[in-house]
């Protein structure tokens, strides 16, 4: 028997386990990314192939697609753990559940949010957005998807035991995520117009810190209800 892990050790174990699992089930990581690319392809087909027109809505398209794709990935974030009893062990483990779930969300973001952020310059280029706005797109999406991971994590913890949970999750989380969309798309738009995007980015950062400080508490409360109930 080894020594019981400390808090940091336990979190590290959770992250490592998640990354190992993701490595073995590669399709779960790539699917949201492909979904993201497919959704962004829909917009030029539905509106116009002209880059000059697409450029005006490009920031919004990237953001809407990222929001939907992240939510799609978040739907299953806790499902297998709850179904095979891992989550019950976490609840009973004596470690603070909020921190374990936070570690889980971090790992989840690294696997689904980060790739999405990394391909977004390519998507932006395809939508006619100039290279000067890429840093803003990457920064805003990184902050936004990380915040959404926590918001969606709360929703996923609430709906994990529910039939047709995926539609319900979107219904719960999308209204809460609308400020992210406002600030995110706005930052891209401002940067495209040649203005400083610092204002909306700072607001995104504020929401990021709010979500990451209070969100895990709500997540653990929700998870206890789902597991114990």
């Amino acid at each position: 028997m080894s020594e019981p892990a400390g808090l940091i050790g336990a979190m590290r174990l959770v992250v490592r386990r998640e990354l190992t699992l993701a490595w073995r089930r590669w399709d779960e990581v790539t699917q949201p990314l492909i979904f993201y690319l497919v959704v962004t392809t829909l917009f030029p087909l539905a509106t116009t192939p002209e880059l000059a027109v697409l450029r005006t809505v490009g920031g919004g398209v990237v953001w809407v697609a990222a929001l939907l794709s992240s939510l799609l990935a978040l739907e299953s974030v806790f499902r297998s753990d709850v179904e095979d009893g891992t989550m019950e062990q976490w609840v009973l483990s004596g470690q603070p559940l909020a921190w374990l779930l936070l570690a889980k969300v971090v790992a989840h973001w690294v696997m689904t949010g980060l790739p999405l952020v990394l391909v977004s310059p390519a998507v932006a280029a395809a939508l006619g957005l100039p290279g000067s706005v890429w840093p803003v797109i990457v920064t805003s999406l990184a902050l936004g998807t990380a915040t959404l991971s926590v918001l969606g994590g709360i929703g996923a913890a609430l709906t994990v035991g529910v039939r047709r949970g995926s539609v319900l999750l979107s219904l719960l989380v999308l209204p809460l995520a609308m400020p992210l969309l406002v600030f995110g798309a706005r930052s891209v738009e401002q940067s495209l117009a040649g203005q400083s995007a610092a204002g909306p980015l700072q607001l995104l950062a504020a929401m990021f810190f709010l979500a990451w400080s209070l969100g895990p508490l709500a997540m653990s409360a929700a998870m206890r209800i789902s597991v114990e109930g």
């Binding site: 609430l158 219904l171 209204p175 406002v182 600030f183 209800i225």
Partner: protein, 242 residues
Amino acid sequence: MWTWIHKLGSPPHAFRILERLAPWLGWAALIVILEGAYWGLVRAPADYQQGEGFRILYVHAPAAWMSLFVYVLMALAAAVGLIWRIKLAHAAAAACAPVGASFTFLALATGSIWGKPMWGTWWVWDARLTSELILLFLYLGYMALRSSFDDRDRADRASAVLAIVGVINVPIIHYSVEWWTTLHQPASVTRLAKPAIALPMLVPLFIMLAGYQLYFGWLLCRRLQGEILRRERSAGWLKEIG
């Protein structure tokens, strides 16, 4: 003091209090709303810009105000239920949600009807309309989550978490939307951002607001009684009431 609160939390006791309270609130609401409607729709002077059309304000503004008030009340009740494990508070939150959603819908519908003569369209992406719409989505999400559980206790606690998360988000949503619209459409809505409203127009508004509050109080009493009956349907004390 504490025994009084504990007594209030017991379903039979609360049911009897609500039964006694409801008719008072109901009749008071009817009288005050009629009074407010008379003063607002007949006696208040017509607006110099909007003519008679502005009178829909007396239906619209209290509904919009109530939609937020009910949401905050619902979240408070949910928090009380979650923290002190009071079933009655959960029942109150459950009773609030559809009423609040209805107020939100009323505010949206009247706002849209008001917008037709004022803005020339049924809908504009105005800050107040948009954040009201998002509030409606929040209510609908809350109700959807509540109805998706078979177990009432779990439905209570899960939806309570959602209500609390939602109420923290309401100001963020409000200000983000406000910021978004002020940047996008600067001048088109300033017509409705009136200067200080004249006193003869303001007084009926407050009367209507009081009327809406009383009406909500009456609805809450009756809905809460319904919730108690549904939750306690196998309890012995119900037979005593008959």
